[in-house]
């Protein structure tokens, strides 16, 4: 599967592009097509099915539920498709070093911790494509490397493709194509 890297400086439309692909924004020209699905004609139920089975996302702004704990933030996504066991989630939390934050509320987590929760959450469903909007912006090198390896492993398991949008040149993954905006 392909891995695309969209590289562009701040304010040039990376997040807009990712949101358009995920159908969060409809104020654009042209059309988005995921396989046979034309996104401009998609219905609410079909969109929900696409988001829970085919396309997953790591938001730039993490978007956790502040009133839920780290574990609950993951569990509410996990239970949607129930394809990953709770034990597996615990193991991934341990790998990314946030096991001790399991019962901390989303609102009390640091940005780095929130970003790691958001990364694990994106991997808790079956998907064909993983969209990532500056997924490691709040992580240090060590944690970035751990998260990168986990993503690579799970994406390979699903045989999925990736679209990563970021500011600078990087070698997080082996990109099949780089698009510079």
């Amino acid at each position: 599967m392909s891995t695309f890297f969209v590289r562009a400086p701040s304010g040039t439309g990376k997040t807009t592009l990712v949101h358009i692909l995920y159908h969060l924004r409809k104020d654009h020209e042209g059309s988005v097509q995921w396989g046979d699905i034309n996104m401009s004609a998609i219905g609410p139920e079909e969109l929900a099915a696409l988001r829970s089975n085919n396309i997953s996302i790591i938001f730039q702004d993490m978007r956790l539920f502040p009133e839920l704990t780290a574990w609950e933030n993951l569990d509410i996504k996990r239970r949607l498709s129930n394809t990953v066991s709770p034990e597996q989630v615990e193991e991934w939390m341990t790998r990314l070093g946030i096991q001790d934050k399991k019962n901390s509320l989303g609102r009390t987590l640091s940005y780095g911790e929130q970003q790691r929760v958001a990364i694990i959450r994106a991997l808790l469903q079956p998907f064909d494509w993983l969209l990532m909007d500056e997924p490691f912006s709040h992580l240090d090198h060590s944690n970035t490397d751990k998260a990168r390896k986990l993503i690579e492993e799970i994406v390979a398991q699903h045989g999925a493709g990736m679209i990563l949008a970021d500011l600078d040149e990087n070698e997080y993954f082996k990109y099949t194509k780089t698009i510079v905006l």
Partner: protein, 401 residues
Amino acid sequence: MSAKTQIEMLRKLLIGNKSRSRLWGALFALFMGTTMLLLTVMIWWNFNELLYGKSQYDTLGSTFLVIGKRITQENVSASHTFSQQDIDSLKQVPEVQDLGILTSNHFPAYARLGGKLAFNTDIFMEAAPDRFLDNMPSEWKWEPGSNDLPIILSSQFLDLYNYLFAPGQGLPQLSESSIKAIAVNIEVGTGPGMLRYTAHVVGFSDRISSVLAPASFIEYNNKIFGKPGDVEASRLILKAKDPSNTKFASYIESHGYTTNSQNMRWSKIRSIVEVVTTATGFLSIVLMGIGALVFILFIELTIAKAQHSLTLLLELGYSPKYLGKFMMSRFMPLVLITIVISMCIAIASQLVASVMVKQLLLTLPVFPGWPVWLALIISSSILFTLVGRAIMKAVKNDVLS
């Protein structure tokens, strides 16, 4: 490991615990609206039952009138009985629900009593169809050959005796039960064919001012002692829907009939009750509407407060239908419980009402009638539809925004 289920997490995100007092307030408004609506329909239906019910007992809606032909200086020598034509004409009057002939005795009757209250007097007797009697004592029957004669006496006669006659004559005043204990000898007819009976007062009537004997008794003796063809109705008893109706009143007046005008005035109260009940009904519908509106606004407020969570759940892949169903599963049981409690109150009120009116010698069913159930079905269907639509609209708006 956290034991929180998906439902509990969704509840935490979408409903929360902070709006408990608002929820109770909204439910109370809904409960008041529903209860008022059901009780009003119930009151309206109960009044209808009392006014126009088919019960053999008294109803408020029917007034019993005894009518006769007015005797004046000019017509004193004319006949004052009702012809078959008069009777047929009266039956056609819309306000007349039922009509009965009061048959008087066409034979000489004589009453004798010994002891302290001794008297001998000529008496009159009358028979009314049983369905017009305001009470039906179990002893109320007579067959040819029977020596015991049951009598129903007008309560007015007892009052006249107790308050006017007895004090002046130095006689003891009598209660209803002491009168019932007295046996009076009745002699019917004259000469060797005279028949003797032992009469007992078995009841009192507020409706007919007369000495009533069973119809079989009057008919039997009229046949024996009366002349053939002379048994014409001198008085009629009418069950009238609304004697205050001007057309009915003018009919009575124009035909020269006499009746108790008090009854005709009294029935105007009924029209006022009907207007008040109808007005209250409209008010209750408005109240129910406000109650439903408050509850729906509460749901919309709850969804608006949970907008951030709802949006994120949809972004994570939760289906709008699933979230809509979840919201409904939270709110619908509350609506259902509220409606059930309202209906229980209506059922209990009906039971209490039926017991209370029994003391007034009126009858009402123990369970609410079909209009109450119909109001329940219609109002809850509308309510469930509105609540369901409000929820789905709020969820879908989020997807489309």
